[in-house]
Symmetry: C5
């Protein structure tokens, strides 16, 4: 397994740690990079706002049990020991600690007495326009939200800005509203990703109906198939999560936040329907491509048939009078050559007319 | 994203606002046009009928809490401030106000204490015969119905006429019956749209089985696929909405109206079954097109094969006697040339007979 | 809508009245013909049997509330006023009266206090061997059964004969047993229709595997697809209806009739399974046709390739010795011509042997 | 209907009696043969075993109400009067008597107060290796099991042998255990049938991947499709039957037999999963066949293209020097002929090399 | 049945014992090999660890009813008498004993009073890189776990190592935790198998998009289809098993182990989703292969068409001046030959230009 070349690194989908690990052991399963784990702590209430960026995990310990809402965002999952320390402080179950660093975990929700645990995927395009499928875990406690991301760079900048500047709903809401706002930002971004997908499909369609079909379009379609399947794997389980989130009767989520979660559910339904529609369209592209190929072949065959059908009989006629029989009366006719030309031209135009009538020309 | 060319403007399906907006903010997501928001207020009871057309949103404020039924129809969603004012007056939840102007919202129903909120899509062909997929929201209150449309032009003219002239069921009914009549008009119009779809399918079939197949039929089929998918996105969620509407036990809907809603449910089921049937037919068209192409290729190949199979051997025979060997006895025969012609004609008709027997001719 | 040419008149499927009618208005939606509405009244008990054929709707009024069972069969739905009179007499809800004449209504069952209302489709082949999809409504009352058909001609002749002559179960049973017998006759006839469908499929298969494939077989398959879809639309909703009929606890259906309805349900399940199987087979026909076409093309190509591969080299050889070089030593050889013939024959049989080994011959 | 030629006699699937029969009438719907109805009565308890073969239906009357278990197996359903007599003696409901002789009845279970009625299909290959789909009915009473088969020959020989010789579980068990043993034998035999199916699929695959593809493989695949569909029709409804059998709380089935029925359910699930897998494989065969055809066509085309591409230019070169221009300087060169040969050989090998590089050779 | 050649021995899927065996009889249904049955007994508690390897079945009898946890792993199912003895000692129901040696039994769970019985499939690649689908049964008792495997070699080495060396969770847990650890190792290994599958798919894709398409790729795809179907048959029923395991309220599984089983369920869901995705991809490969073939055919046809279209007219031109008419004025022109060459070169480049513009070159 370690010997196999890692062709498409960004697909977590198909890899999982394969050693027979002790269940519940906290082991990072993503790509090991040199990045250390960094923390971003935003602590706010209606009146105050404070933001701390640090690499010292202990900075996060003091925010539990305050009357402020605290959002602790952890970037980088390599340093599992630090994450274990944070997890132990917040009394997270060992299996949750395992899931936080297990980047292939599918989206799910686990309810515990003191907190909710949600796993989801953040899909976005990074600055190099590469598709990024990032594993994010979220813990909703009484007065705090913990989020764990694989790397820097996310879709929460708008949310941060509103947290800092707005005096509105977001600052008045509790940790549950913050969780909603985070999920909302993630799902909102799914629409962006789907739109890029839609653009790619249209581009391929344009190629198919235009003249510039390249030979490698099958590969493009196959790539689109894989991409939509990855999106589907992110979206569909999350739909169930949001559905359960709406129905759960945990004390962690206030009544008034429920309307917002219902709205979230509408959005994720909309995303998943779009995913299915685009999926169907991509599969349809293959059929279209097949007809395009067949149409082109038809055209090639018509050219061949027309050329051959016109010139083979003419060549035969010329061959006749190239024979060396001692007695071929036509050869002696004065204007035999010109008469033959006349016949050949008649055949030529006759064939042309025939193909015209068949609409091959 | 803003830089991408907006190829098919009428598809709301694939676009959604993509900035990280504050959830619950009222922001119009459709195409911004110069149209201002206009109101059409129809106030009626068994005895009286009054209609007001205005652009002054405050005209709509006085109709709440009367013993008449009032239908306030808002055309144009650009002016979100006005809609917010109307919404605030009727105490609509911020999320509803957001949904009213969010034209990509899929059909759904939300129940609140004082009103029902329904989102649906109005499908029709406008005067230029373009397919229009219009986002409509409906609020059913105690004695009023609010409807919000993206633009002027709708399918309610028959309903308006009956409201004005009829003394029958419609004028006796309450706001719930008016809601039914509006939904009924919308669903009825789905049948029209489906019929146009059916005509288009038949047209394509005729082209396929006729001689006039154009090369761009794949594109036509693909366009049909997209259109039926859009219809499906409008119809299927609405089916669930009507189903819930039938089952809900809100006080806003009277018992006797329930029979009508059950009828409505029958209709929407019928529409959705038709949609699925036409969808299957459209996908079948692609297969048929493939066989049509293959059949044509077969025909092309037969012509080529017949021409080549007949004339290549004849040319060979002529080639034989075009050789310059010093001693070719046949060349000396007096009637050699004519004997050869006889042989050639025999080969010619032999091949014809062979292809005839193979039914290629 | 009125302007569009009515290509396949018998398909109600895709048409529905498209004017914005007042909901609940009784309006016939089928094809208007000159036929007037006629009644057939069969009144019976264990001891007596009476049959009246009339066009006077009032003849049907006196049979309500007797201790006989009365079957009133109405043929022809054009005269909606008469049907309204009958409906009003039997106190049918306006929506039911609408459904009776609305020939596109899908099969359904509505339960009211005093009667059951069932809509179904009668499929049969008329005397001209045309497929007929006839809209039938049935009202089961305490001691009467009303049926409404679009036209004369139905599948109930055997039932009528048994009603007149039998002394058995049918004359002892109540109106509920009569309803069962009517539905049984209809569903039994579905088996006939499906059998004709099966024969058509076999015919097409025989054509596909035989030599006589016509070019328009795609059209035949497409027609079969449409026909099976129509049957499906008749059968599947009726299955649900019978299922609900079995489960309903209305007083109109006696306990002992329930066994028969369960039997009916077995039959309709059997029909619907057959429909799905034939549907799958029809779709499979298209694939088979594609392979047939491809096989034929293969055969055509083989003929071309064999002919060309044999004669093109031979023609080349002849061409060599048709050249006019001053010095071509072979031309001087006495038996050069015959040696060349030998070589040509060797090439000829070599190619034949090659193609034989490739199993192309 | 009687006039139509009975092409595939063994398929009951698509035929059902089509006369408008009186519901509940006992009418045999299979193929009428000259076989009379024969009985096989096995009466046993822990200590005793008795077997009677007779054609006298009254022999079967005395076994009801004993403390032995009695298995009455009826072969041949033609003689409906005898079956009615037996049915009346055992107080079977008329609808059951109808179902016993109605060979197209799909598998089902009906519970009555005193007995259970089960219909299933016995699939096996007879001595002529023909696929036999036999309609079998089973009635489980307090101390008896009745089975009705269409013809002699079944899959119960092993069971009979165990009944006669074993002292084990089977002789100790009640009628319910006997029913289990019968069903077990039937379902066990499904595995055999499926294995034959699997062998046929492998045979076709071997043909597809080998050289010996016959032209009629499409027909073979189509036949397999039909066969698997028939098996499916036998297996899937029986699965539901066994499921209900497991869940029913009838007093006829003892608690300790339930474990065995659960085991039976495991087996039928396994059969039905295999059926679906083989079904998918058969449909996949068609695709594989298409690619095989296309691959062969590719090969044919390559031969043609290689032959034509090599010899057409050479023929052209020969044609050049066959011209009769007065002044063609090359013709005068002493070694012109040999130079030309050199050029031709160069072209020949050049083309060979080109096709070699394209991997067409 | 015994006479049929056992083509792919490793597929248990399609074989089942086919003699009419006595239900509940313990009969091994796998391939008979010379291997005797061997036992591996691991007995541990927090403080002690003992391991015994033996072939004496009675060694396993003394571990029931201790306060240690005992894992008795049986390798080899041939010796059914020994297994019966073990089963009888542990009071296993006869049907369970049958299932243990019936290697075609699909994954399932049976609950009994004193133990849980689970059947599952262990998928792995053996040392020869062959896919192995091994039938494993597990019995969870109060203080023991029995596992039965078909052969030596499994995926439990990591688990054994942890049992021996770890002082952690595994040694503290009860028999239920051991069961979890065993299932966890099995499911973990499914990820490995799926990864190999994924590599194979990528390899085929590379072949498809590269130049090195071999002719037997259809066979490879078909093999992949079969392999994924086998995996599916192992995974999907196990998913249901784990789901029921999570929900069951047996006293054998402690509360605290439930979290781990929920985790297991997450993993098996993930496996089964991957299976479905890869299944879809494999079916997509076939389509891609078809387009690849068609593209290649297109290329072949283009070469043929270009060659023929260029040289057939030229040959005709040469043929003209090879005729022997007495009066062909061009032949007398001094530079006629060179003029003709000019014309030929013009035609040659004209055709090239034409094909260039058509993008065939």
């Amino acid at each position: 397994m370690s010997a196999r070349k890692n062709r498409n690194k960004e697909i977590h989908v198909k890899t999982k740690k394969t050693e027979n690990y002790a269940a519940g052991a906290v082991k990072y399963t993503g790509v090991k990079t040199g990045l250390s784990t960094s923390l971003e702590i935003i602590d706010y209430s209606k009146e105050r706002y404070e933001r701390i960026d640090t690499e010292d995990i202990e900075m996060a310990f003091k925010f539990k049990g305050t009357d402020h809402v605290t959002w602790i965002n952890v970037n980088g999952l390599n340093n599992t020991r630090e994450i274990e320390r944070l997890g132990d402080h917040y009394k997270l179950h060992p299996l949750i600690q395992e899931d936080i660093v297990s980047v292939n975990q599918r989206p799910k929700m686990d309810e515990y007495n003191d907190y909710l645990f949600i796993v989801f995927k953040m899909l976005h395009y990074n600055e190099n326009n590469e598709f990024v499928n990032e594993h994010v875990s979220l813990v909703l406690g009484d007065d705090y939200v913990l989020t764990f991301q694989e790397a820097d760079g996310d879709v929460f900048d708008g949310l941060r800005e509103r947290l800092e500047n707005s005096k509105g709903r977001i600052r008045n809401g509790g940790a549950d509203y913050l969780m909603f706002a985070i999920l909302d930002a993630v799902i909102d971004n799914y629409f962006n990703v789907i739109e890029v997908m839609s653009d790619k499909i249209e581009l391929l369609e344009d190629q198919l109906f235009g003249d510039e079909v390249e030979d490698d379009i099958t590969k493009d379609i196959q790539d689109l198939k894989k991409e939509i399947l990855k999106i589907r794997r992110a979206v569909f389980p999350l739909r169930e999560v949001i559905n359960r989130l709406e129905k759960t009767d945990t004390a962690l989520i206030e009544e008034r936040t429920n309307n917002y979660i219902r709205d979230l559910y509408d959005h994720i339904i909309q995303v998943s329907e779009s995913v299915d529609i685009y999926r169907e369209m991509i599969w349809g592209l293959m059929d279209m491509y097949m007809t395009t190929i067949s149409n082109k072949m038809n055209e090639v065959m018509k050219v061949l048939t027309i050329m051959a059908s016109i010139f083979i009989p003419l060549t035969f006629m010329a061959g006749i009078y190239g024979m060396n029989f001692e007695f071929i009366p036509e050869l002696k006719f004065k204007y035999g050559y010109f008469v033959l030309w006349g016949a050949m031209i008649a055949v030529f135009f006759g064939m042309l007319f025939y193909f015209k009538r068949k609409k091959w020309l």
